[in-house]
């Protein structure tokens, strides 16, 4: 009833290949996007913006990057934290060395630097596969973190060993640094995510994405039909690291404000991997759902006792939270092993037919 598709037919190839071919879908998505830009800055409090929405957007971008590499190209990578660190530190160096450079350009350039580093560390993927590759990418993770710890040039010789985002403006509005409002930072993060999600969606629908999926499913057969594994895999690493690099730069410039290497350690890599797996491998929407799950659920669990009026010690609360979180992961995996995106898809399918059973 909701999704009455009768009467919708396409007359051009372009219309047929649209991302959202059904008019209702397109309408809802555009409306949601517009609302996302307008509503939270006006309505949401600073806590919501600073502690929930901005990290959600930052990690959604990182999850998108990792999904491209792991979900679409099939290369399991645990080096996400390291690539985010590359993006963050290069953004820091660029913005302090060239203060006149627009922050958007800084982010894009730091993404490019991260992409180059990603290509270098992606070379082993040509020889190593599966979980072995995952563990090998840990080499890149630990090495990059050690490098940023060891070489003081990266932190501009600060005795504190941390990088701090300098204040920068976009269109006259302060968007980074301690004086930037959460709303401004949120809009910038949202803009980046929206643009890059669109880019990612088109990439994976097109030739490049199909090449990735061919490598993921049957790489030898793919090679036989002419998909070049070297180029395809390295391209996947490059684009994935580009996304992760920008996410890392956003993490420091738009979310935390300042960071030391501990913010990019192995736990980050695992966190983003969890987001991708829970959200759904090989799905752009899945990256968002996974990021939302991993960011929002712990906060919800922490605040739950207050809401229901229970007075629990914080330590016990944290421990129960961990247990419930683990339990939820197991539950969702059992219910739908292919992730939240698949759940969403099933839901949409049912909606298209509802109230009819088939």
């Amino acid at each position: 009833m909701i999704y009455r598709e009768t009467g919708q037919f396409k007359t051009t190839y372009a219309a047929d290949q649209a991302i959202f071919p059904i008019v209702q879908d397109r309408f809802v998505v555009l409306l949601a996007a517009a609302a996302a830009f307008v509503v939270p800055p006006l309505v949401a409090g600073e806590y919501w913006l600073q502690a929930i929405l901005i990290p959600f957007l930052v990690y959604a971008l990182a999850a998108l990057g990792l999904n491209i590499l792991t979900g679409y190209a099939g290369q399991i990578s645990l080096g996400t934290g390291g690539f985010m660190a590359v993006g963050a530190y290069s953004a820091f160096k660029l913005s302090t060395a060239f203060p006149w450079l627009n922050i958007v350009a800084v982010f894009l350039l730091s993404g490019v630097i991260a992409a180059l580093v990603g290509i270098v560390f992606g070379i082993p993927s040509l020889r190593i596969k599966g979980f072995y590759l995952a563990v090998a990418t840990l080499a890149s993770q630990f090495f990059l973190i050690w490098l940023f710890n060891k070489v003081p040039w990266f932190v501009n010789y600060a005795s504190s060993g941390t990088i701090t985002a300098p204040g920068r403006r976009v269109l006259g509005v302060m968007v980074t640094g301690p004086n930037a409002t959460a709303a401004a930072r949120y809009v910038v993060a949202l803009a980046f995510v929206a643009v890059f999600a669109l880019v990612a969606k088109n990439l994976v629908r097109g030739r490049v994405g199909r090449a990735w999926m061919a490598i993921r499913d049957r790489d030898i057969a793919a090679e036989i039909i002419g998909v070049r594994p070297l180029r395809t895999k390295l391209l996947a690493f490059a684009i994935s690291s580009f996304y992760c690099g920008i996410a890392g730069a956003e993490l420091v410039f738009l979310f935390l404000g300042s960071a030391e290497t501990q913010a990019f350690d192995i736990n980050q890599s695992f966190l983003v991997l969890f987001m991708v797996i829970i959200g759904g491998l090989g799905s752009v929407l899945g990256s968002f759902l996974g990021a939302a799950f991993i960011i929002v659920v712990p906060i919800f669990l922490t605040n739950l006792p207050h809401m229901v009026g229970l007075d629990v010690s914080v330590a016990l609360l944290k421990q129960i939270e961990l247990m419930v979180f683990g339990g939820l992961i197991l539950f969702f995996l059992v219910v739908e092993p292919h992730g939240l995106a698949r759940l969403w898809q099933i839901g949409k399918e049912k909606l298209r037919l509802w109230p009819f059973p088939h």
Partner: protein, 439 residues
């Protein structure tokens, strides 16, 4: 699948709706102090006694004195697991409840919050940790790290070694090794130690230990080969336990190994057992439950079942540290109340109180902490205060002070500190303020 599907939808809706209900500021009339604690996670063994000491002192004040000059204190713990992102979340959530003062209790969280302190107007007290450069109050009016910083501590250590060797001139040619955690925290003491090595002629070897420090064989083999006269340890968490154990295992004379004040507590020596006897550490307060304030804690809290922890754990190193942190916060607020009146104060007023804290010997006697910590005076330029360090030693059962109070080498440390403050302040876009204009 139907019920399952329904449950999932319900769960998803609840998850989305959840955080919406969190922004409900409970405005108590009184002083609201959020406590960032780490009772779980990798550093919990240090975080638990600290949090308990904090809690007990605040509760004692409410029980014994009815608050600070009649103004009750409300505390709320927020678990950060020593993780920066959780710390930021705690801060943002609790900021709206009328927070005037925050103890971040994690170097990472401190660095996060330092730029926010002047913008949100919240006083930040990073007692003996955090950004050393914030001791220069002219650049960082909202951040305080009294009673002492890492750089002063390192200079006090060198002074102690000199005293033990028979004079600072005897340091020439001696070998000192610094075993440190490979992080900005661990590296804090290095510049000071290097400067002092040049000044006094001792040979300094820097040995970094990779996080988390569970396996330190390579480091301690190098120590064995080097055979230094003294070892300074800047560790944290499991690195401390393993370091003490490995030092004992290679047969190092434990009374020549001195940890910094975050490497010297009961949990750090528990793994080493008998081998850890004789291990020393720096400190800025005394350990043990023998002071008058502890009598009050026992009488008014534990005897009535309102204590935060087990009775026998009162007086642990970190427990006392938590108490002292609470005490310093309260005394600062009291100082502000003298000027502004006995009511719930604004953060500007509390900041003034911190900056003009003058903790005298008599006051310490009144609150029952005489001998536990030194008198302290904080000024606008000097947010580190004029604190002193001492050395304590583990005898297998407890930590006892084995030295007098040691004055740090302020003439060496202060210039470096000021230079670093200029650097860090400029990085954040601050301008130096003129203290003489503020009296």
């Amino acid at each position: 699948m139907n019920t399952k599907r329904f449950l999932i939808v319900l769960l998803a809706a609840a998850v989305v709706a959840g955080p919406m209900a969190t922004v409900a500021p409970a405005q108590d009339k009184g002083l609201y102090v959020p406590l960032f604690v780490y009772r779980t996670g990798p550093f919990a063994p240090s975080g638990i006694p600290n949090a308990n000491g904090f809690n007990d002192y605040f509760n004692l004040l409410n029980e014994r004195d009815g608050g600070i000059n009649g103004v009750r204190i409300t505390i709320e713990e927020c678990e950060t697991q020593y993780d920066t992102k959780l710390g930021v979340e705690c801060y943002e959530r609790l900021k709206g409840k009328g927070t005037v003062l925050v103890n971040p209790y994690s170097t990472g969280i401190t660095y996060q919050l330092i730029p926010k302190a002047p913008v949100d107007k919240v006083v930040m007290h990073s007692m003996g940790y955090g950004m050393t450069a914030s001791a220069d109050g002219r650049w960082f009016p909202w951040v305080f790290n009294f009673p002492m910083t890492y750089w002063s501590q390192a200079s006090a250590f060198v002074k102690y070694v000199g005293a033990q060797e028979g004079g600072m001139d005897k340091l020439k040619g001696k070998k000192i090794a610094h075993v440190y955690h490979n992080s900005p925290y661990g590296r804090e003491a290095n510049p000071t130690l290097e400067t002092l090595a040049l000044q006094f002629g001792f040979e300094l070897t820097l040995l970094a230990v990779d996080t988390p420090g569970q396996e330190q064989k390579a480091t301690w083999l190098q120590v064995r080969r080097l055979n230094p006269d003294w070892i300074y340890l800047s560790g944290w968490g499991v690195m401390n336990q393993v370091a003490v154990k490995e030092a004992a295992a290679i047969g190092y004379k434990m009374d020549r190994m001195v940890g910094n004040w975050w490497s010297g507590s009961e949990s750090d020596v528990v793994a080493a057992g008998d081998g850890g006897k004789g291990y020393k550490s720096m400190t800025f307060h005394a350990a043990g439950p023998g002071f008058k304030v502890h009598q009050d804690v026992f009488k008014l809290l534990y005897d009535k079942g309102k204590g935060s922890t087990k009775r026998e754990l009162v007086g642990e190193v970190y427990y006392n540290r938590g108490m002292i942190n609470a005490m310093l916060n309260i005394e600062s607020v009291r100082t502000a109340m003298v000027k502004y009146g006995n009511k719930p104060l604004t953060s500007e007023q509390v900041r003034w109180g911190f900056e003009n804290l003058n903790l005298t010997e008599q006051r310490l006697e009144q609150i029952g902490m005489k001998g536990m910590v030194r008198p302290l005076r904080v000024t606008c330029e000097n947010h580190e205060g004029n604190g002193m360090a001492a050395v304590q030693q583990w005898d297998g059962k407890k930590w006892t002070m084995v030295s007098d109070w040691i004055e740090p080498m302020r003439e060496v440390v202060r210039p470096k500190l000021e230079a670093a403050a200029v650097e860090e302040g400029k990085r954040l876009g601050y301008t130096i303020r003129d203290c003489s204009k503020e009296k």
